[in-house]
């Protein structure tokens, strides 16, 4: 069978993606107020990664350069990588779960729910440890996903209209909730909140890098294990059940994992929209909807795209930074409108 042809194109795309990932990581590390050459950036990347385990310095870069890489650019680069890969995969899985290519953590309100969960901890429990904020974001994301799923899905599938309307309603609700929190917040919390709603990777901290990396490993592994079942689910819930898929368990596991991924991503970077919409769509155009190929390639492309967007956020208006969430929205929203127009006949 010529199934192997798509496998071949998959492995060449995967290799291309890995190369692009390396290059964008180098680009991300070399970009900033202090110019560091591209080759030196790659070397600094490797040294910096080793430095997370042991203090080893061959003296390839000047000490202040390595210091900037270790403390500022490397965590930022890794956080963008993890969050991009997580959001793209969660988007792909949600689209599979809702059997609709328009589902995205940002659009259906999951990110807003996660942000609200995080905001509660920032404002009402000022001084709460950051993992508490992440737990708040996870719980907010989980509650929202369950709510939207319940509202939008019936036995015959998910209605696009109900899905988007539920997303709008939920996003408005949590937006208002965040508004109330803004009103009662002190100045310090206020700054955090506004940053949260726009999404930014600036000021990435190592402990969020580790948290996001751990989340990325867990969800990637679990999603990969469920790839065939997710394919079957696209036939319909009853059909998947007839094929031997434990549909209820699969659905709730996927919802839990998406909330985990999106929650931790939001806790680390705030709301970064449209990665989960745009990336899986582009990958489907290249290799088709099979989750076994879609998920790993979405992870790679999501990481690359968010890294590029973050480099753009740093360089567009120096010396200040554009929040990267604004950039992804500026690029992603028109794409979303294009998808809506393409689907227009199927919507009503």
């Amino acid at each position: 069978m010529s199934f192997h042809s798509s496998i071949n194109s998959y492995s060449s795309l995967r290799n291309l993606g890995l190369l692009a990932l390396l290059l964008t990581c180098g680009l991300s590390i070399s970009t900033g107020p202090l110019a560091i050459g591209f080759i030196n950036s790659l070397k600094g990347l490797v040294i910096g990664l080793v430095n997370t385990v042991t203090a080893w310095d061959p003296g390839t870069l000047a000490p202040h350069e390595q210091l900037i890489i270790n403390n500022v650019r490397l965590p930022r680069t890794l956080l963008a990588l993890c969050v991009g890969a997580t959001l793209a995969q969660c988007g792909a899985v949600m689209q599979g779960l809702f059997r609709n290519p328009l589902a995205d953590p940002g659009i259906i309100g999951v990110s807003a729910g996660a942000a609200f969960g995080a905001a509660i901890f920032i404002v009402l429990f000022a001084g709460a440890p950051e993992y508490a904020v992440a737990i708040g974001a996870f719980l907010g994301g989980l509650a929202t996903t369950l709510l939207v799923y319940r509202v939008a899905t019936s036995s015959s599938g998910t209605s696009v209209v109900m899905l988007l309307l539920a997303g709008v309603a939920v996003a408005a609700l949590f937006g208002a909730g965040i508004g109330v929190l803004t009103y009662i917040a002190n100045d310090m919390a206020l700054r955090d909140l506004s940053l949260w709603q726009m999404g930014s990777i600036a000021g990435a901290k190592w402990h969020f890098v580790w948290l996001s990396a751990a989340a990325l490993v867990v969800i990637s592994w679990q999603f990969h294990r469920s790839a065939k079942a997710l394919n079957a689910l696209l036939l319909g819930e009853a059909e998947a059940r007839h094929l031997g898929v434990d549909v209820e368990r699969l659905k709730y596991r996927m919802i839990f994992l998406c909330a985990l991924g999106v929650g931790i991503a939001v806790a680390g970077t705030g709301i970064i929209g449209f990665i989960g919409l745009v990336v899986p769509h582009i990958v489907r155009m290249m290799v088709g909807p099979d989750h076994r190929l879609l998920l790993p390639l979405s992870a790679l492309l999501g990481a690359v795209l968010l890294l590029i967007a973050d480099v753009g956020a740093r360089t567009l208006m120096p010396p200040s930074e554009v929040p990267v969430g604004l950039l992804t929205a500026l690029l992603g929203a028109p794409f979303f409108i294009y998808l809506l127009l393409k689907q227009r006949q199927r919507l009503f």
């Binding site: 696209l234 009853a238 059909e239 094929l243 898929v245 088709g288």
Partner: protein, 256 residues
């Protein structure tokens, strides 16, 4: 003859409306059974009880002597496959990948799986469509594709498997209808598949099926072989239409 599926005292209501009443049926191994009846008689609902999409209010269904709901999902999927009336699939899978979804409950190597998919694509005359994208196929092509998928699913059954079909020929042209029905008849006769299919065409049912079950207002109005159970009075009584009977030499009668 061994009973594979047995239903006793089955009652189903949906939204306060009684759909099925006191259904008792024995479906025997290796028989091709047609579920017949006018619109709304409960054919699809009965099939959905067998596929566990509907849970009956009272009554029981047992499969090979064990309550249907006690079967593990994967094990059941290898022994019993369901072809629904409509299959929604909005994503652009290739045709062969849709058929390969039938491999889900099986434990086959990549090569064995590919060979199995190819086998059923050929048997159903859709090999030429293997690389076509699903949303671009016609209704009849999709229908044969899903039939191929459920036949792939049954490749590793421990005993001759069960196939539940809801109007498997509704989107096919005349020639394809006969091809598919002959294939099903052959599977029942030569490999002892137990096949239960909702059909609309009485003559096709009489021609291809071993047993008929005629439903009327949620009850079994008649059952048996085409020769013993089908006649003008039954059709008049159940469908409220008086047909004309034609005889071809030594064949089952035709009703118009």
């Amino acid at each position: 003859m061994e009973s594979v599926l047995s239903l006793s005292g089955l009652n189903l209501s949906r939204g306060g409306k009684q759909i099925l009443s006191d259904i008792d049926l024995e479906l025997t191994q290796g028989k091709f059974t047609a579920l017949l009846g006018p619109n709304g008689a409960g054919k699809s609902s009965l099939l959905k009880c067998l596929s566990q999409d509907h849970k009956p209010d009272i009554g029981s269904i047992s499969f090979r002597g064990k309550p249907l709901s006690d079967w593990s999902q994967v094990k059941l999927a290898r022994e019993l496959a369901v072809l629904p009336q409509h299959s929604g699939l909005g994503f652009a899978f290739k045709a062969k990948d849709v058929v390969a979804m039938g491999l889900y409950p099986l434990t086959l190597s990549q090569q064995q799986g590919d060979a199995l998919v190819t086998h059923w694509l050929e048997r159903l005359d859709i090999m030429h469509l293997r690389d076509s994208l699903y949303p671009e196929l016609s209704g009849g092509e999709k229908q044969r594709l899903h039939l191929a998928r459920v036949l792939v699913q049954l490749a590793q059954s421990e005993q001759p498997p069960v196939l539940l079909l809801d109007e498997p020929t509704s989107a096919l042209d005349l020639a394809q209808q006969h091809r598919v029905l002959s294939l099903l008849k052959e599977l029942a006769r030569e490999q002892e598949y137990t096949i239960v299919s909702v059909l609309h065409d009485l003559n096709q049912a009489c021609q291809y099926c071993d047993e008929l079950v005629v439903l009327s207002q949620g009850r079994v109005a008649a059952s048996g072989t085409p020769r013993t159970c089908m006649n003008e009075d039954l059709i008049d009584h159940v469908w409220r239409y008086r047909p004309e009977r034609l005889y071809r030499s030594s064949e089952t009668p035709l009703y118009f």
